[in-house]
Every structure is written in C-alpha cells, then in structure tokens.
Amino acid sequence: MATPEQFEEFVAARFPALVRSARLLVADPSLAEDLVQDALMRCVPVWSRIEGDPEGYVRTVMVRTNISRWRRRRRVMESPTEVLPETATWDPEVAEQDALRRALGELGPKQRAVVVLRHVEGRAVREVAQMMGCSVGTVKSQSSAALARLRVLLAENEVPASAPPAASLIP
C-alpha cells in the first residue's frame, strides 16, 4: 500500500521526467513545474488507492489538469514569441526542434496533448484517450487536425537550412 514515504520516493525519482513531459505540454518552464506539482498534490488524497505504478495516474492527472486549466492560464501565459531567440551557435537539428517546440506551443491544449502523448511519447491511441478522458475517435480527429496545423505553422516559420541567422555568423 502506498505511503507518504513512497510518495516522497516517487517525487524524488520521477519529478524531472514529469517536468520534461510537462515542458512539452506548456511552453513556460515555470508553469510546467507548477503543473507537475499541481498534479502531484491532486494525487495525494487518492495516493493510497492507486494500484501499481502511480506514474501513469499522475501523468493522466497532469494532462487533464493542463487541459482544464487552459482557459485560465492562456490569458496570462500563451504568448508565443514572434521572433526566434538569437542563438550563439547554429545547429540545424536544434533549430528544427526549437521550431517544432514553438509550433507545438501554438496549438490548443487538447491538440498539443494529443501530439505529445501520441507522437512524441509514442503512446497508443486508446491509452491517449484514457489519459485525456475522451473517446478514441476524438483522439484521432484531434491528432489529424493538430498535425495539419503543425505543418502550416512550421511552413510559415520555416528557416532555410542554408541561411543561418546573421547573429551566428558574427564572430
């Protein structure tokens, strides 16, 4: 049976991994940590009733909490930057991932969660549906719409590989 000690062990072991996932769900790093702490605290009242590995339960709570708090949060945080931050070095792989992450940040919370869970973390459709509390059909339709939207966003913000930012050329 789970105990506070087990909770402490779980937090110590899995907090960074949970934050990494949360960083894909919300753009702001501090809000990502806040989301993980929020999810962990929501799990406390039922901690003793969680069977098996609690991580799946915590991640489910995290995803759903993020979606349900979206409206409140978006008013204060959803402000994707228009201009790519300047980087001191030019790495096409890093630039591509930055662009992808930024495009993810412009999706709505449900679509973002679907993309992260389904395509980044590679979870099965049924598992994603269970975690989000929706139907399999909804996951599929959200996934399709999200990918289409991502393609548009990436096309709009595409940075030519042959033309690195001027800042990276300055010695």
Partner: protein, 455 residues
C-alpha cells in the same frame, strides 16, 4: 506548404533540458492533503445546498397537487352537498377527479396537459367531496356541457365526420356530430351519433330529469365550402330524448304541438313551457290543462324556476319602456287557463339578479351578477336575501374565471357543507427547469472549483 516527415520529426523531438529542482515531497504531501480536505468540504457543501434546493423545489412543485384540506365525504346525510363557497378562478392544470361521483357544478374549461397542450374538457366540483377537478369526458369536442338536475349525468358534444362537407369554423374541437352522456358515478359513457350534413351547433341540451336528456340538434346550414353567411347559420330539427342509462333514443313527442326549447322543469318529468301555455308530463305524455298566467310585462326574461308546489319564479331584465338594466324577480303559481292568477313582483332592492335557478324551502335560489356574484335565497314575500353559496373571486392563482352551471335539484335540496379549495398545480415544465438549473449550477460549481482550485 506541407512539410513531409512531420511525425518522424516529432518522434525525434528530444526532451528539453530540464534543470528543475525537486520540491520537498513532504510539503507537497501536506498541501495535497489540505486540498483534499477542502475538496471534500466543497463537495459536501454543494451536495447539501443541492439537496436543500431540490427539496425546496419538490415542496414548491407539489404544493398545488394536494388538496389544502383532507378530502373526505361531505358532512351530509344524503352523501352529497352544496359547498358554502365556490371559487371562480381555477387552474387548467388541475388533476382529474379520481372518483367523481355526483357533481354539484360544472363548467367548460380547457385542460392543459403536462406538455402545455390545451384540450376541451369539463371542470367540476364534486358533490360527494367538494373537490375541484376535471372529469374524463372521452371524445368531448367543446361546447357547453349540461349537468343533470341531481348531478349524476353529464351531457356533452362529440366530434365526428358529417355526411357532407364539414363545417370546421364553428367549433375549435372539431365538427360536432353527436352527443355523449357520462354517468359520473359509474364512469360509463353513452354516445349517440346524429346524422348531419355539415355538423351541429352546440345547442340545445336540456335534462328532463336525471335520466332523460332532451336533445334539440341545430344543424349547420353549410360546410367550409358553402356560403360564408350560411356557415354560421343553423336550423333546429328532429328533437329527441336520449335515455342516459340505456342509450335508447325516442322522438320528442311534443315536437308539433309545443316548442322544444324554453322549458321549466320540476320534479319527475313535469314541464312547463316558458311561454306558459302548457304543462306536460313527458313520461306519461299527458298535457295538463294548466299553465302560467300571461307574461308579466312582455319583457326580456331569463330562464325561470319551477317549484314542486307549482310556484314559478322568473327574472325580468330591464323595463319595457326604459332599458335601465334593472332586474326584478316575478313569481306566480301554475293556474288553469282563464284563472285570475297573475304574476307578482317580489319587493326587493337587492343586488343585480342574473337568473332564478330553483326553489329551496319556499325561497327562490337566484344567481346574482355584477361585481359580487353569489347564489342567494330570496324570500318571495318580502324580498329578504340570504347567501346560499359565496363566490370567491380571482385571487391571482388561477388561469381564468369560469361560470359554473349547477345541479339544480341539489341546489334545492342538498345540505350546504364546508367547501374545499381548488388546487393550483405549478407548471411541471417550470419545476423541471428549476431542477435542471439547480443540478447544472451544482455541476458547474463542483467542476469550476476543481478546475480553478489550486492545491
């Protein structure tokens, strides 16, 4: 432009560099427990509020479904009674009387169904319990019902298909083609279809006694495709008597010698033509050589009342020279033709009298009109008045004012008993709406708190 390989790029999306500091787990645990307790308190609070509100709605919604007082047989030796007060404002959502029994008063009134649809119906006051409610009248198609003298039978018009083009303009409930009689004690209904080309006007139904209904059908002259002026005209013909128990029909035997409308009725089968020119016994077929004195003043008169002793009371409206709205009550005794008997005006300066309904212990039962409606007893010798049934006017709870038709024999003989109040059910759609609103508000409160609540 669609960039290919997006899904593959997503799978290669590496986790961002995370330098998060692991928070103190014991602090998270304590905050989580506090949040859990708050959550339970909110849930319990919302649940209690919801239950309280639903209970309130339940009480509010059921208020009009129960009779304010206990429904018991009236305190009367005969088992039937006349209520001391009658409400003129009633609800179209009243329930049906479970066991109507004899009825003391009825009125044509629309019944509003659960979903708000209106249908022609008969509202009644039970002579057995004093309850108000609707009476089940299968096939009723509108028009005024006729209550038998002792309140045991109710006659009403039914709709059907005429032999020619139907006239649908005269009656909202359909083309009238028949008459039905409800036995309010047994619940049995006797129906009789009348052969008609375009339909019937809702007149005349007259109870000769508690078992025999005189029907004088007025046939509409044209259907919907006929001349407009004829669609509203009708002609009476082929009066007949319907036996309420057996449903047997016999021709009205006085059709040639005597008019079929304008009768005064008294006792078992004794009738007087309103013109005062004949007294007949419809059961034996005898024409008695007695009648009424000459008309009091060649004035506009209303229906009259004939007592078992042969006293007749009639209300005269206005004056033959000045149409003042004055009403006077005149009385006379049945007399042989040529006798010196004359009409005599009852000396009184009381309220406006609408019509005379009967005789009770030597006094005239009359319906007063104007602002203060009531059934009063008028002493024919000195005009002294006493209230028999008080009319309770609009108190804002009903759906409209009605005019009651009374079981005249009960008015003359039954004991006056304590009255019941009608029920005024709340619109069930309002109750449903309020319930849904409370449940929705509770759900919003719980979900909203859980979404906004930060542990």
């Amino acid at each position: 432009m669609v960039q290919p390989g997006l899904e593959e790029r997503l799978t290669r999306l590496v986790d961002p560099q995370v330098d998060a500091v692991v928070p103190p787990a014991d602090e998270l645990w304590q905050r989580g427990r506090r949040w859990g307790r708050r959550s339970r308190l909110v849930n319990v609070g919302v649940a209690l509020c919801t239950v309280a509100l639903l209970a309130g709605i339940g009480v509010w919604g059921s208020q009009g479904l129960r009779h304010p007082g206990p429904v018991q047989p009236v305190d009367s030796g005969s088992g039937v009674g006349v209520p001391s007060r009658v409400h003129t404002n009633i609800s179209s959502r009243m329930p049906y009387l479970a066991e109507p029994g004899a009825l003391v008063a009825v009125t044509s009134w629309s019944h509003t169904t659960w979903w708000g649809r209106s249908e022609p119906a008969v509202a009644a006051v039970s002579a057995r319990t004093g309850e108000y409610g609707f009476v089940r009248t299968p096939g009723m198609a509108g028009g005024e019902p006729a209550l038998s003298p002792r309140g045991t039978h109710l006659a009403y018009w039914t709709a059907g298909t005429p032999s020619g083009s139907p006239n649908t303009t005269r009656n909202d409930g359909g083309t009238l083609t028949g008459v039905a009689v409800l036995d309010s004690v047994t619940g049995e209904v006797v129906r009789h279809e009348i052969e008609t080309a375009h339909g019937l006007s809702d007149q005349e139904l007259f109870w000769l006694d508690d078992q025999h209904l005189l029907v004088h059908p007025f046939h509409l002259l044209a259907g919907d495709d006929g001349p407009e002026e004829e669609q509203w005209a009708s002609r009476g013909k082929d009066a007949f008597v319907l036996d309420a128990s057996t449903g047997e029909v016999s021709p009205w035997r006085w059709a040639e010698r005597l008019p079929v409308d304008g009768w005064l009725r008294s006792g078992d089968g004794v009738l007087v033509s309103e013109r005062g020119d004949a007294l007949v016994n419809h059961r034996t077929g005898r024409v008695l050589e007695v009648g009424l004195p000459a008309d009091p003043a060649d004035l506009v008169t209303s229906d009259g009342a004939l007592s078992p002793d042969g006293d007749v009371a009639r209300v005269v409206h206005g004056d033959k020279n000045t149409d003042t709205g004055l009403t006077t009550i005149w009385v006379a005794r049945l007399a042989r033709p040529g006798s010196a008997e004359k009409w005599r005006e009852v000396p009184r300066e009381g309220s406006y009298v609408h019509e005379a309904l009967g005789w009770r212990d030597g006094r005239i039962v009359a319906l007063t009109g104007g602002e203060e409606q009531a059934l009063i007893l008028v002493d024919p010798s000195d005009g002294e008045e006493e209230t028999l049934v008080e009319y309770v006017e609009d108190d804002g709870r009903g759906d409209g004012s009605v005019g009651w038709s009374w079981a005249t024999d009960l008015l003359q003989t039954a004991d006056v008993v304590d009255s019941q109040e009608p029920v005024y059910p709340v619109n069930p759609l309002l109750v449903l709406g309020a319930t849904a609103a409370v449940l929705t508000a509770a759900a919003i409160a719980v979900v909203g708190w859980r979404r906004r609540g930060h542990p």
